[in-house]
């Protein structure tokens, strides 16, 4: 297991370590800027951020390790930190030096962690963040005395104002010159506790209580007000994701549409169609999600950094606990309303393995933004828009019903898992409530950039490949339509006799009980890779020109026997099918990576398809019986 592949003699590797919320990541960002690489540790689910920096003519690699409370790991994140610091990860060198980042306002607790890091016997220095807050709370930290007591260099910084960062920068260039402790901190718990107390009493003058955080918590965690603020925040969250993003999405769609048309005419022939309907439509169907994804990361990043997310998790914990989940699951599920991929990735902060798995498995049932175009298309075409009660209208109500169905089913799914496959005793719930802080624009923007970019890269590849592949299958073999057919009829004829059309027809016996015919089946097949492909595929298989034409087309489309292809029962079944089915390669891939096995993604795919089929069948049968 131990394979310390040493970096080149000149290439120093310095690791940043510290507890969560200590300000480690903002120090890392300040030292490295945008030159970071994010990669996964081999074989595990935790990503490492690293950057090469050049300080005083010296190249060195800075690695930002996940936040940790101790070197006896309880979560996947902490396990990586422990392994990395012991040099036990194959292909990854043990760091040459450690930069510990600790919050000066809670130095007494940080010292326990510092003691553990000092046991590693690596050159170590300490960066104390939030020293400005120490003085606003009328306290002092004697940095020189702390340095003397620990026997290592200590620097105080104010990260968001850049104070002290130059000292840190020139210090990390030369770890061999750092002072090393003469005596290691004592080992036993009581002895160590006494060691911490003695250092704290000589170095720190007591701070005023954090009245600001206490005052804000008195409102945000108030039994009535707190719940009210929470409900308003959640409402605002959805409202902004869907209403703020919509105009941008519409403009983007229009622009992509005209680009596709222009390309089709400019290039012409089959190649023109390939570029317009395969490539541009494929890339476009990813790009239209970008405004929502960016907004999602922006809002969640802000709430997280201000400190509200921990409060929301605290509020939701009791309810989530009923379903075998915990407060932090709520945050993950909230993200999943935009996209299950970042939702599943955010479960890394859940230390309890059972809670974490249950959350990851429930995430795909939250109504993600990829379902939205499918729902919008079907609802606007088949649900008449009339007022129900005040401003509530039937179309919006239908959409809300689908969201509710997904969320309730997700929670029930988690509850079933935690009572069966994930039953048994589990680790306790411990969550730190960080003090409220004003986030820096830089930190939030970096978070948005990293999230959005990884989404585009991942989803983009999969959707592009699928769209191009589907386009090819729908155009091979090329058939000559019978004489007298107009353009639309000729296009339909081509689709029906293509390879994809053949597959769609072969699927008919299986999907007939749900009321789906071959055109829908091909679109469902395409949506296996990503749900939004459904809409673009359906517009190809029904030979509709543009989104508006698609709405008309599916309303009027008839089977050879003269009955409508889409009736109330079929549309109902389709909507319900999309609530449950796990049609998303990216989600399957991220489930596989984050659970480190094929067992969970296989189970999710199988069970959610079974649920989707069953629920669609029941819906179809019920609506048929009523109408």
């Amino acid at each position: 297991m131990k394979a310390p592949t040493l970096a080149p003699a000149d290439e120093l590797q310095v690791a940043l370590v510290g507890s969560p919320n200590a300000g480690k990541t903002s120090i890392f960002n300040a030292l490295t800027g945008m030159r970071t690489k994010t990669a996964n540790y081999p074989g595990v689910t935790v990503s490492r951020r690293e950057a090469t920096v050049n300080i005083e003519g010296r190249h060195l690699t800075l690695v930002d390790l996940p936040g940790t409370y101790g070197l006896e790991p309880v979560s996947p994140d902490e396990e990586v930190v422990a392994h990395a610091l012991h040099g036990e990860i194959e292909g990854v060198a043990r760091p040459d030096a450690l930069v510990m980042v600790a919050d000066a306002t809670s130095l007494d607790r940080s010292l326990f962690l510092i003691a553990e890091f000092l046991e590693l016997d690596l050159p170590t220095c300490l960066v104390l963040t939030m020293i400005d807050e120490v003085s606003t709370r009328h306290g002092t930290v004697d940095i020189d005395r702390l340095s003397a007591a620990l026997g290592i260099p200590v620097v105080g910084v104010v990260g968001h104002r850049g104070i002290g960062l130059d000292t840190v920068r020139s210090m990390i260039a030369n770890p061999s010159g750092w002072e090393r402790p003469i005596l290691a901190p004592p080992a036993g718990l009581r002895e160590r506790s006494a060691w911490v107390d003695s250092i704290v009493s000589t170095v720190v003058s007591p701070l005023d209580a954090d009245t600001k955080t206490r005052r804000i918590d008195a409102v945000l965690l108030h039994p009535v007000l707190g719940v009210l603020v929470f409900a308003t925040a959640m409402l605002g969250f959805f409202q902004s994701i869907f209403t703020l993003a919509t105009p941008i999405v519409d403009r983007l769609e229009a622009a992509l549409g005209s680009l596709a048309d222009a390309t089709r005419t400019a290039i012409g022939g089959t190649l023109g169609e390939f570029v317009a309907d395969g490539v541009i439509a494929g890339v476009g169907s990813v790009l239209v999600f970008l405004p929502q994804i960016v907004l999602l990361f922006l809002i969640i990043g802000l709430l997280e950094r201000v400190g509200y997310m921990a409060r929301a998790a605290l509020l939701a914990d009791r309810v989530m606990g009923r379903f075998g989940l915990e407060g932090r699951s709520f945050v993950a599920m909230l993200s999943s309303f935009a996209c299950a991929v970042p939702g599943i990735m955010s479960t890394r902060t859940i230390p309890n393995e059972k809670h974490r798995l249950a959350t990851m498995m429930a995430a795909p049932l939250m109504t993600c933004s990829a379902r939205l175009p499918v729902f919008t298309l079907l609802i606007s075409a088949f649900v008449s828009d009339r007022a129900v009660l005040g401003p509530i209208r039937s179309q919006g109500l239908t959409l809300f019903g689908l969201y509710l169905l997904g969320s309730v089913s997700g929670l029930a799914y988690a509850a079933v898992l935690s009572r069966t496959m994930l039953a048994g005793p589990s680790a306790p719930f411990i969550m730190e409530l960080p003090p409220y802080r004003r986030p820096t624009a830089r930190a939030v923007l970096l978070h948005v950039w990293e999230g959005a970019w990884s989404f585009v890269r991942k989803a983009g590849t999969i959707i592009l490949v699928t769209s191009v592949g589907l386009w090819a299958l729908l155009n091979v073999p090329s058939s000559t339509p019978p004489p007298g057919f107009d353009d639309a009829q000729a296009a339909s004829y081509q689709m029906e006799n293509s390879v994809a059309g053949g597959i769609g027809k072969a699927m008919e016996p299986a999907f007939a009980p749900l009321g789906f015919e071959w055109r829908t089946n091909v679109a469902i097949l395409g949506s296996l890779a990503a749900r939004e492909v459904f809409v673009s595929t359906l517009s190809i298989t029904t030979a509709a020109e543009g989104e508006e034409a698609l709405t008309d087309r599916i309303q009027t489309l008839e089977r050879p026997d003269g009955t409508k292809v889409f009736n109330a029962a079929t549309v109902g079944a389709l909507l319900v099918f999309f609530v449950y089915a796990l049609q998303c390669f990216s989600t399957v891939a991220v489930l596989r990576r984050e659970s480190n096995s094929w067992k969970w993604p296989t189970l999710a795919m199988g069970s959610m398809f079974a649920l989707a089929y069953l629920a669609a069948y029941v819906t179809h049968t019920l609506i048929e019986a009523v109408s």
């Binding site: 914990d317 680790a427 306790p428 411990i430 730190e432």
Partner: protein, 80 residues
């Protein structure tokens, strides 16, 4: 006395931590629940559980089951 039984606003000193069924006690110690440490009961979540404690100038939320593992000695009682 168990930490979970303390009323809001009271202060206590940690006497010991039970190991727990899944080794949860160790984590509670690492995070600051070391014998001799002062702990203050800050507030309960709006729905009654978990509870927020202040220990070594950090706010930590524990569910009742976790706080049951911590044995404390009350030094100052105050009613919420």
């Amino acid at each position: 006395m168990r930490l979970s039984h303390l009323p809001i606003g009271s202060e206590a000193v940690v006497r010991g931590v039970d190991p727990g069924r899944a080794g949860e006690g160790r984590r509670l110690q690492e995070i600051g629940f070391v014998p001799g440490t002062r702990v203050r009961v800050e507030r309960r979540a709006p729905l009654g559980d978990p509870t927020v404690y202040e220990i070594r100038s950090t706010r930590l939320a524990l569910r009742r089951a976790g706080a049951d593992l911590v044995d404390v000695e009350l030094i100052e009682e105050r009613d919420a």
